[in-house]
């Protein structure tokens, strides 16, 4: 009784002419979706490809688990890249139901402007542009109660209708899981090529379990894995400097998982309450607290990522 048993044995495939109509489709929960979805290649894909042609590198930030620091890492990576004024950086937040990027990057309350060439991203500084659904909500507390198709539609618009200009690094922040958002972004960017994914985890087994699923997902959809980052590993008490383990790596943590899965391990970032504070106030942690051990860990990881992504 495995989950894959759910797929009808003679499923014609969701993009075929027979989708939803074959006899095998009877009783399949996807029958209606398959039968009504437009067939043939998506007419928007060439438009996305055109728009994305001005973007050199596209990096996904992924994790099967929520709250491990995807958005924090994305934003710090964005800040760090953009410290070099000759590099153009874009941050795209495709977490539609829980967008954190606007707050973490100090852009809360900003709005998106529309021009002839499309939506303009919101800029932190000249070479760091950001796009998120957070900029489109009339009230920041509004819930975005959307099922998959609406979320996919918005992601498509972010790729197709945003006037990004020339970008060296596009960082794409994602929600946790392996569902609509993740499938859509990989499908829409299939022809524009994703450089790879950075996978974030925390050290405890309950998080690693979900993250292994994300690695499995990357393999299924053929996204290269740039490496694993272990966040929130260890904590140094600001009072006595004693170290303690908050999320115990009982099964070896991110490093062991990277070894087992044969993907690069990029490093561990210790817990520093000032990281959370920097995110809450929307400033760059790396600039504000450059003395923190976490800052050094971040910079080491960023150097490794840069080395992996060659022009």
């Amino acid at each position: 009784m495995a989950v894959t048993d759910n797929i009808p044995e003679h499923c014609p495939g969701p993009t075929t002419e027979q989708a939803g109509k074959a006899s095998a489709c009877q009783g399949c929960p996807n029958q209606n979706v398959c039968a009504t979805a437009p067939k043939g290649p998506d007419p928007d894909l060439p438009l996305i490809k055109e728009r994305m042609s001005s973007i050199k590198h596209k990096i996904l930030i992924l994790s099967g688990k929520g709250g491990v620091g995807k958005s924090t890492f994305t934003s710090q990576l964005g800040f760090a890249f953009s410290n070099d004024e000759s590099i153009q950086v874009g941050v795209m937040d495709i977490d539609v139901c829980g967008p954190s990027i606007p707050k973490i990057m100090g852009l809360e309350g900003e709005q998106i402007h529309q021009s002839l060439s499309g939506w303009s991203p919101v800029y932190v500084q000249d070479n760091l542009g950001v796009m998120s659904i957070g900029f489109m909500l009339p009230n920041p507390d509004d819930a975005v109660i959307w099922r998959g198709p609406k979320k996919n539609g918005l992601i498509k618009q972010f790729l197709k209708d945003v006037d990004w200009g020339d970008i060296d690094y596009m960082l794409i922040d994602t929600p946790p899981g392996t569902s609509d958002e993740h499938l859509s972004i990989t499908q829409y960017l299939k022809e524009s090529v994703i450089d790879g994914a950075i996978i974030i985890t925390t050290p405890q087994e309950v998080a690693l379990q979900d993250v292994r699923k994300e690695i499995d997902f990357c393999r299924k959809v053929k996204i290269p894995i740039i490496g694993i980052v272990e966040n929130m590993s260890g904590f140094i008490c600001p009072n006595c400097k004693g170290e303690s383990i908050i999320f115990a790596p009982t099964t070896g943590g991110g490093k062991k998982m990277a070894e087992d899965e044969e993907v690069p391990f990029l490093g561990s970032i210790p817990l520093d309450p000032r990281i959370g504070k920097a995110c809450d106030t929307g400033v760059s942690f790396l600039d504000e607290y450059s003395d923190s051990p976490a800052c050094k860990a971040y910079l080491d990881i960023i150097t490794k990522i840069k080395a992996q992504i060659k022009d």
Binding site: C97, D141, G177, K213, F235, A248
Partner: protein, 275 residues
């Protein structure tokens, strides 16, 4: 639809949904602790895990690798203790390998949730606790829709204290209002960490944010739960020596400090549900 659901859910007295807009704040750990406290209080409890792409409940209850059995009346949930007071259902029990990803779009997720509600023979339960993924999307809309006529008792909202998490959780509160799901209260998790070396309490993710939010939205604040690494260790232990486990997790949990903290929260939830 409502009829088929009603048959298997008929023996359940109370349904509580654990929600949060933010991931990794401890929904599954709160759902588990709530269940453990309720069991300790003499109740029969079930946990339904509708986080399909990141199921954590099997691991939380020390049930990694267990399988669901099919009976003539439907799926039999997996029991976590000898006395059969705590049972659960999760997609984690249906995967061939626990590392397999479940790469599904909305409609398949919705169908699975519906199947969980319609086909699992829960039997007589005092409480069914439903653990959810983060967000306000397919899983949440579906569970609210499917349970509409059954009138769940309400939602326990979990948050951590930092502003970034609260921003997403506020959306979840508004979601509950929109779908008319009563809010039982807010739990602030990971609130402070006591250094084992010097007893100094550090607020790793700030503190007090959950309570302030509860006040602002006019909902009950159920309490704050500190970061306690011993919970992770307890869970790992119960996963390790599965064979020697008799009432294992329930027993070690009720002897821990967290139990005292969480029992108060459970009492408040029970008081809200019973009246």
């Amino acid at each position: 639809m409502a009829d088929t659901l009603a048959t298997h859910l008929a023996g359940i007295k109370h349904i509580i949904i654990v929600l949060s807009g933010k991931g990794g704040v401890g929904k599954s750990s709160i759902a588990t602790q709530l269940a453990l406290c309720l069991v300790q209080g003499g109740n029969k409890v079930g946990i339904l895990d509708i986080d399909l792409t990141g199921p954590s409940i099997p691991h939380m209850l020390g049930l990694d690798g267990k399988q669901v059995h099919q009976a003539s009346s439907g799926w039999v949930p997996v029991f976590a203790d000898e006395n059969k007071n705590l049972c659960c259902m999760s997609i984690g029990f249906l995967l061939q390998s626990k590392n397999d990803s479940v790469v599904w779009r909305g409609p398949k997720k919705n169908a699975m949730i519906r199947q969980f509600l319609a086909d699992v023979c829960w039997g007589e339960l005092d409480y069914l606790i439903i653990d959810t993924p983060p967000g306000t999307s397919d899983e949440h809309i579906s569970i609210a829709e499917y349970l509409k006529d059954i009138h769940p008792d309400g939602a326990v909202i979990v948050t951590t204290p930092q502003t970034v998490a609260l921003a997403d959780v506020r959306k979840e509160l508004n979601f509950c209002k929109k779908v008319k799901l009563p809010i039982l209260g807010v739990v602030e998790n990971m609130s402070g960490y006591v250094c084992p070396h010097c007893e100094e309490c550090t607020n790793l993710f700030s503190t007090g944010g959950g309570e302030a939010m509860a006040q602002e939205f006019g909902v009950e604040f159920l309490g704050r739960v500190p970061i306690d690494p011993s919970l992770t260790l307890m869970i790992e232990k119960s996963n390790d020596d599965n064979a020697t486990l008799e009432n294992g997790l329930i027993k070690i949990y009720t002897e821990s400090n967290l139990f005292k903290v969480f029992n108060k929260i459970t009492d408040k939830v029970v008081a809200k549900v019973i009246t």
